[in-house]
């Protein structure tokens, strides 16, 4: 199984609104803490190390961390 980069979210607008609403009126530190937890929870759900590595490599700037 490879990282799915095709459309996969059934109701994109609903999802995106929920994601943004979640952070409304929060300070920067709280937002970062919350996002970190969200990444961890979703990563655990995915579980597959190869897919997680592939996702990280897509967003990692060149020359940062492992290649």
């Amino acid at each position: 199984m490879a990282l799915n980069l095709k459309r996969n979210i059934a109701r994109p607008d609903d999802f995106y609104q929920e994601l943004i609403d979640m952070q409304r009126d929060m300070n920067e530190a709280d937002v970062q803490a919350m996002n970190a937890k969200l990444i961890l929870i979703l990563s655990n759900h995915i579980g597959d190390q190869e897919i997680l590595s592939e996702a990280m490599s897509l967003v990692r700037p060149a020359g940062h961390g492992r290649t």
Binding site: A36, L40, I41, N44
Partner: protein
Amino acid sequence: MLNTYTWPEYSYVQSEDQKNATITRRPVIVIGAGLIGLSAALDLARHGIPVVVLDDNNTVSIGSRAVCYAKRPLEIWDRLGIADKMIEKGISWNVGKVFFKEDLAYEFDLLPEEGHKMPAMINLQQYYCEEFLVDEVLKHNDLIDLRWKHKLISLTQHEEHTSLQVETPDGVFTMECDWMIACDGANSMVRDMVKAAFTGQFFQDRFLIADVVMKADFPTERWFWFDPIFHKNQSALLHKQSDDVWRLDFQMGWDADPKEVTKPENVIPMIKAMLGDDTDFELEWVSIYQFACRRIDNFRYGRILFAGDAAHQVSPFGARGANTGIQDIDNLTWKLKLVMEGKAPESFLDSYNEERAFAADDNLLNSTRSTDFITPKSKGSRIFRDAVLELSKKYEFARPLVNSGRLSVPTPYIHSSLNTPDEDLFESSMKPGTNCIDAPIVAAGAEGWLLNALGDGFTLLVFGDAPNVTAVKLGDISAQVMTVGVQFEDKAGIMTTRYDGAEGAVYLIRPDHHVAARWRIFDQEKIVAALARATGQN
């Protein structure tokens, strides 16, 4: 200063060599009579090799250093005859608690697996371990010459020997040895003398160790705090040792002034904040340390071999220092014996570097990861660290991500050139390069243990049918056949499961009780080839 322990003082004796100004070439000289050097001496003596041990001091480890000893080193010490003493004096523990800020995040139980002679882990002050080792060494004074107040001041390496200048209260004299094992610790003089590189990562943080005596009703558990209210933004550890001594470890940060923070008037309030105002305790030992994760570039410099902290230094998280040092010795002595007897080429000792540098790198990786979790290096990593801890309170999935030290387990030499790769299928983790897992056996009607039954040389552990031979030989090297159901029985069936032997299996086991090769059927030709490979003869 210590209320519970009095250091033995061993007497300096002028050696005959120095008195008579004669130079006797010694087969092996070990530098340093710490945990590693003394273990090396005992293991060499067990193999019948005479050894001289030099130490610049005349007592055991000062202060409390290593605390936790894991199953594998205990198994090695069991072979040397001292594990029972350590276990009896030591503290066994299984429950660990992790706290984050003001709350208990979660607790875990190590639940040691049944069917092993040795426990998963014991806690014991290093000075006790060293004292037990010295006591045992003195029983073998026919082979081990332990010399206190002998300080190595210089050495010269020759083609086939090393000459040493040694200083004692009676002055300087010369010694010579065929082989040297340098166990002289993280600040190894020998390492400097051979100009070896010792590189890695330094951590900009300081930790304060306080050993306290208290009769409190604290349970025998390991408690680790991340960012506790009594020591904000830092970490703290509480761990029990023998004699009602508790090890407390406080992360202090890089800016802490070592002189200031170790003053009793500064340490005591910090401990009271941790233990509660009404807990009675006495301060036994205080010191501050910083650490590095680094290793020597090669464990072998000609006829000088490095072991323990002289070869690698790790952070204390995970108890990987002493534990891995003992395994260096386990790997080295049988190889040295074969080379000294001319049964294996000198180049065989390169496999000591190959296997133990591989293990050291694994330890360094684990140790560095723990350090990164305990002391996050950036704001971003701190955010993730705290998120993991926060989630671990509620969700089981986050707990394996919490890293307050991964306790020491042996590193299998999976890529070692001494292994013969598997060609048959096995449902068992005992792959070539792995240390043999213990199992209960019954031998001559008495209950015993597999690891005690395996010999000091190569062993062929056979499940099922084998031809009627007692040993397979390659020149002067022989592997003794031990057949399950003949030499001993597997009444509980645990060994057969652990080695996947139900349908027949043949394991070639090295003198350090690591698997060299395994097959489904007994094929003498293949065994001989694997023996050659495992002794560097191809």
